[in-house]
């Protein structure tokens, strides 16, 4: 057992998989010699050498394309797209290539790769370096989307993603990089498609992802202690595959649900979850599912404005309290 930051967990997760399997290779901008702009991949070059840990030019299409070609022919690449927002410059691979090659080829072509991205707000990086992209990637059949909220999940879910035979977008949250957590020694391998109930509760279910998980937990504390509202908190962890059963099971017990989403309002990942709940748990619900999201705006850079934009503990608490008192 050791305390590890989410940042260091990334490097440990990659190292665990590279040590296990020679076919795992890693590429991205400034990831090797410099150890990544978020310092999440420090030491990998030294440990695995320049043939397996490779710096690339600023050529995101080449990075994601090369990862695919390598995956098709026998490697298991991990590609880094530094800021998640940059997926937009290589989006063809996300929308058109990765998810469709297996299907179009009638199963001939495989695509076992992981794209790691630094996602999310809170660092005052402004509208083009702070976006949450889970909902972007979720729309394409054939791709998986994973977003860990703790160091141990980073390692376990990264390992599961690397070992998964499908393309996985692995969404790391930039604001979680410095956060510490307990991590067991030895190999850690988790399972995709499993949500985690991080806190049990009886009055309502808070469904959260990434940076919103610790905020939902903190709000749940406040709601319990200050308002006597008992919240169950579910960390979705993996949007595709989605552990709908854990979510629906929780809602069946609590009868009320809230999504806590960092993405802007419209067609966030919560919209799918609300739609599933509203369909399959219709008769379980005591009130509408409420989505707590960033407003329908690009993220501002100024610290005061950004703090207003993202769902925070106070807003989560207040929204839940109000809805529960109706």
């Amino acid at each position: 057992m050791a305390e590890l930051t989410y940042r260091d967990a990334v490097a440990r997760g990659i190292a665990q998989e590279m040590a296990r399997d020679e076919d795992v290779v890693f590429l991205g901008e400034d990831v090797a010699k410099a150890g990544g702009v978020f310092k999440a991949t420090v030491g990998l070059l030294e440990q695995f050498g320049p043939l397996r840990v490779r710096d690339t030019p600023i050529s995101e299409q080449a990075i994601l394309g090369a990862a695919m070609g390598a995956a098709m022919t026998g490697l298991k690449p991990i590609a880094e797209i530094m800021f998640a927002d940059f997926l937009a410059v290589c989006y063809d691979y996300i929308a058109n290539e990765y998810p469709k090659s297996r299907y179009m080829s009638n199963g001939q072509v495989k695509c076992p790769l992981v794209v790691r991205v630094g996602s999310g707000g809170g660092a005052r990086f402004g509208a083009q370096h702070s976006q949450s992209v889970e909902n972007w990637c979720m729309q394409y059949p054939g791709i998986k989307v994973v977003a860990p909220s703790s160091p141990v999940d980073v390692i376990g879910l990264l390992a599961a993603s690397v070992r998964d035979p499908d393309p996985v977008i692995f969404v790391e949250h930039k604001s979680l990089y410095p956060v510490k957590g307990e991590v067991p020694d030895g190999e850690i391998v988790d399972t995709l498609g499993t949500a985690k109930i991080l806190r049990s509760g009886s009055d309502c279910t808070l469904i959260a992802l990434g940076l919103m998980v610790p905020r939902a937990l903190a709000a749940a504390d406040k709601l319990q202690s200050e308002h006597g509202i008992s919240c169950e908190v579910v960390d979705v962890r993996s949007l595709v595959p989605l552990d709908a059963q854990t979510i629906l099971g929780s809602v069946a017990r609590t009868h009320r649900a809230f999504t806590v989403e960092e993405n802007p309002r419209v067609l966030g990942w919560g919209a799918e979850i609300v739609s599933v709940i509203a369909d399959e748990s219709f008769y379980d619900l005591d009130g509408p599912v409420v989505r707590i999201t960033t407003p329908h705006i690009p993220l501002p850079a100024s610290d005061v404005l950004e703090d207003l934009a993202l769902p925070n503990v106070a807003r989560i608490t207040e929204t839940v309290r109000r809805a529960m008192s109706n």
Binding site: T56, A66, G69, M72, L75, S105, G107, Q108, D166
Partner: protein, 365 residues
């Protein structure tokens, strides 16, 4: 007997074919020949190249006939007139080498040995098709033949092909990757990224640009800053400019062979521009009225199949042997056509298979 003509035949000076090309392609850029090695094509290879061209011609012609009969439902992009590139490249490849093609990929797919009925069947959306109708004409893929896919988004397969070549380099495997694309593709960003990437990583890949003078309906010269869309960009990646006569399969073969050798010995990628011409429209829907009068006819005078046949005859190959190759190709395509017509449509259950590696399309529990 024809061996006796060998020397003469081998001597067909490349400069002649270049001159011919220059005459035919009046407005096209000057062709710069790459170094031509001492001829080593050999009889068997020549017959193979001829056979391939004839087979491609017959197959594509048949695909066209099948459109007219409304048996090909979706779109389709033929390579009629461009056979020399596919045949010359395939003949220079080794088994295990990989091809990445475009939507205009029937010829490149067939040239690697994929059965004709699987290709025509895919065009027809039948169960016999290479991907049982799930991909369609633009996505022909046969991993067992090294055809790693046909790609329909312009440019996207150039980086993908780099990745396949990277794997070979990393795993010290000896296969070389060929990536085919058109002149129009040189103006999209992915082209640039892939070329730079392949060069700095010294990947075992050969980029083959088939310059057929048009993107869809727009002449490439109208939208390109340089006369040779690929050749004049080679310098931007530290590569030599290579522009060859893409209607002469020998010229293609002779250029590809050293490019493959270079890749295999770890000396990095090549970029080769092959000047050629497509006879039909861009796709099924296109009557190609945008072409100036006479252009098609001029190119047909340098028809790659005709040109190659005449060369073989001139070298002393007996007409009967070539006729037999022609007949065999027709027989194969006829049989394939019948097999396709007899094939049922794909069964409904495959609609939901192979989205994910577990075989299904389930995204939740």
């Amino acid at each position: 007997m024809r061996v006796a003509f060998g020397r003469v035949a081998f001597g067909v000076p490349v400069v002649d074919s270049v001159a011919e090309a220059d005459m035919a392609v009046k407005s096209s850029p000057k062709i710069v020949e790459s170094v031509v090695p001492e001829d080593d094509i050999g009889e068997a290879k020549r017959l193979e190249i001829y056979r391939l061209q004839v087979l491609l011609r017959e197959s594509e012609q048949r695909a066209y006939d099948l459109f007219l009969q409304n048996l090909v439902k979706g779109t389709s992009h033929l390579s009629l007139g461009q056979e020399a590139v596919a045949a010359g490249c395939a003949a220079a490849m080794r088994p295990g080498d990989l091809s990445f093609c475009t939507y205009r990929g029937h010829a490149h797919t067939l040239a690697r040995g994929v059965p004709v009925e699987k290709v025509l069947g895919e065009l027809m959306g039948r169960d016999i098709g290479l991907m049982r109708g799930k991909g369609g004409s633009m996505h022909l893929t046969s991993v067992e033949h090294g055809v790693m896919g046909s790609y329909a988004i312009i440019g996207s397969h150039l980086p993908i092909a780099c990745g396949a070549a990277w794997r070979a380099q990393y795993k010290k495997q000896s296969d070389v990757t060929t990536c085919f694309f058109g002149d129009g593709t040189t103006n999209i960003g992915a082209f640039h990224e892939a070329l730079n990437f392949a060069v700095i990583w010294k990947l075992p890949i050969v980029f083959v640009c088939e310059n057929n003078l048009y993107m869809e309906y727009t002449p490439i010269a109208d939208v390109t800053a340089v006369p040779s869309p690929a050749g004049d960009r080679a310098g931007a990646y530290g590569l030599p400019k290579i522009v060859i006569d893409g209607n002469d399969a020998d010229s293609v073969y002779r250029t590809m062979t050293p490019a493959y050798d270079k890749a295999r010995r770890g000396a990095g990628p090549s970029l080769i521009e092959c000047l050629t011409y497509r006879y039909s429209g861009h796709s099924r829907a296109d009557p190609a009225k945008y072409r100036p009068a006479g252009e098609l006819d001029r190119w047909k005078q340098r028809d790659p199949v005709k040109l190659y046949r005449e060369r073989l005859l001139g070298m002393g190959f007996p007409a009967g042997e070539l006729d037999a190759i022609d007949a065999e190709a027709r027989r194969i395509v006829d049989a394939a056509t019948e097999a396709c017509k007899a094939s049922p449509p794909p069964p409904a259950e495959i609609l939901l298979t192979d989205v994910y590696a577990d075989g299904g399309c389930s995204w939740r529990n």
